[in-house]
Amino acid sequence: MPEAGVELINVTKKYGNVKAVDEINLRIPAGSYCCLIGPSGCGKTSTLRMIAGHEKASSGDILINGRNVTDLPPVQRGTAMMFQSYALFPHLTCLDNVAFSLRMRGVGKDERRAKAKEMLERVHLPEMAERKPAQLSGGQQQRVALARALITNPSTLLLDEPLSALDPFLRGKMREELKRLQRELGITFIHVTHAQDEAMALADLVVVMERGLILQSDSPRHVFDNPNTPFVARFMGGHNILEGKVSAAGTVSLADGNAIHVNEKLPAAASTVRIAVRSDRMRLMPTDDLPNRLNAKVTAVEYNGSFVRVGLMDVGGADHSLMLSETDFYAHPVALGDSVVAGFQADDVHVLAN
């Protein structure tokens, strides 16, 4: 088991009587890229701020590289934080912004300016050294914030929604750059986001949170393929959730009368169960080779270039999506309002916990 970079043990954060974070346990391996993900108010930012030392944990312990830092101020934790709004000092030049923490540590003027210059070169902004943050674009400000956070050689970099203020094109570029930097530096990155695509693209470890609890934490691929609750399946996206009753024969009978064959373990017979099927693993009939079927009406057809999204509504009124390859769709095109049958393999059915 790799060494834990950051470890949370029974960490709770209360604001008054409200539990923002409820006794969570988490182990983030050193040198990994971890994404905390969840809807707003799920406790992900509170968790990050407790790791940074900007919020005090109401109870529990926070360990960084094996050292208990629960009661230490931010500066003694070996962490650096990159703020959502970047929080660059508007009255200082970029160079002085980057050099700020060295100045606080009493490093001489020439030395800290030389180091800050080096850091600005690392984020490809040496020519902006003497400008004020207000004269920079959003993407440039972010690089300066990154340089400022990295200059003290932190063991852990904490990023609070770092990409949310950027336009989609820059977001993609910065995403690559963050991943590259993390690999080069070999330090732990903990990144808070509400965008699941960001988490999947970046993370070694995805932590899905809701209402102060960790619902699932694993590699992005595992979380996406095996979401453990309907919430995780919906939040990660790309899943259709079907509800049915477990029959005596070991299948799931849906409201439309179809029996779904499942290879995973099912709960006791006659109980209600929810199952998830990835939307790219469903196809439209005629597909005689697929044992599982779902009757539905077409509610949307969206051409997306490499794939076509078909929106369906089943007899119970639940919405589903199918991602069909362009070739598959145009082999048997469907139109709005058509009654169709969607099919899928027993292997592609994932049983969700309630």
């Binding site: 940074a52 929080a87 923490s101």
Partner: protein
């Protein structure tokens, strides 16, 4: 085909009609429109600011004779005003008051604004405490000043209290009708003018900046020195301009609280006016105006306050 004919009719004709009926003014009128719209402000400024100042400047060059002012262009009034040792001494005293009062109001005002802006978490309490600071200012200056007199006087509350405690066995004379009393009244009257602009600037400081500084290893003193004070400078300079101009132009506070023992530039002007020496009063007023403008100008050169306006 009918649709081909109908569509151009609908799309082009209707907007055209709207344009023609909606905007009938000529380009020339459009060019002077912004000036016309700001005309009321220019009229107000002209009547209440520019014309009175021009009249004072003009009067300062008139001749002062026993029968009254005579239109003229002479420098005698300025020579009289600036040639006297008393004038220079009075300016020195007034500037000394301004510096002392500025330092005290800055210290108190900054602290009050800082506590209000950064340490009172609930915005309701912030408003309540801010009102507590502001409400006394609904009463007049003179009343708030006079209320010090029974308190500070020879047999006033302050002296009674000090004697009861045994700190002193005879009434302290310097409490009232002294430079001390003048400064006390000034600080009391004008601290709010420091609190409000500094509070405003501080409320605009992003709280994340304080956290970012703490994250970078700054302690409370460094946060104050490297983040809060530099970012509060515009508010500090606006407050400074208020306090300095108010103290420089004051005559009533100095007269009442010093018991007539202390002079100020404002008092010189007031005395000249009560002797009906308007040209001399005008000359003094022009000199005072230039002095204050010089002080304000040098503050503005150091600190950029445009972001606050």
């Amino acid at each position: 085909m009918p649709p081909d004919i109908a569509i151009p009719d609908v799309t082009t004709a209707a907007p055209k009609g709207a344009v023609v009926t909606g905007r009938t003014e000529s380009p020339a009128l459009a060019a002077i429109m912004p000036y016309l719209q700001s005309l009321p402000l220019w009229i107000v400024l002209a009547i209440f600011l520019a014309i009175p100042i021009c009249m004072i400047v003009v009067a300062s060059f008139w001749d002062d004779q026993a029968t009254g002012m005579v239109p003229s262009f002479i420098w005698d009034n300025y020579r009289d005003a600036l040639g006297e040792w008393v004038t220079w001494n009075t300016y020195l005293q007034t500037i000394r008051y301004a510096v002392i009062v500025w330092a005290l109001t800055l210290g108190i005002g900054f602290t009050v604004a800082y506590v209000l802006a950064f340490h009172i978490r609930s915005s309701l309490w912030q408003m309540v405490l801010f009102q507590v600071c502001a409400i006394p200012f609904l009463t007049s200056n003179v009343i708030r000043m006079i209320s010090w007199i029974p308190f500070l006087g020879r047999n006033g509350l302050a002296n009674q209290f000090l004697m009861d405690l045994g700190i002193t066995d005879h009434p302290l004379e310097f409490l009232l009708y002294s430079p001390f009393a003048v400064c006390l009244a000034f600080v009391h009257l004008y601290t709010l003018f420091m609190v409000v602009p500094i509070f405003n600037t501080m409320m605009r400081i992003d709280r994340a900046l304080v956290e970012a500084a703490r994250d970078a290893g700054a302690g409370p003193i460094e946060v104050m020195r490297h983040v809060i004070i530099p970012l509060s400078l515009p508010g500090i300079s606006i407050g400074t301009i208020f306090v300095v101009t108010l103290v420089m132009g004051d005559f009533i506070t100095v007269q009442m609280m010093s018991g007539g023992q202390s002079a100020s530039v404002g008092l010189i002007i007031k005395n000249a006016m009560s002797l009906l020496q308007y040209p001399e009063a005008s000359a003094q007023a022009v000199v005072l105006l230039l002095t204050v403008l010089l002080m304000v100008g040098s503050i503005l050169r150091v600190i950029d306050i445009r972001k606050e306006l």
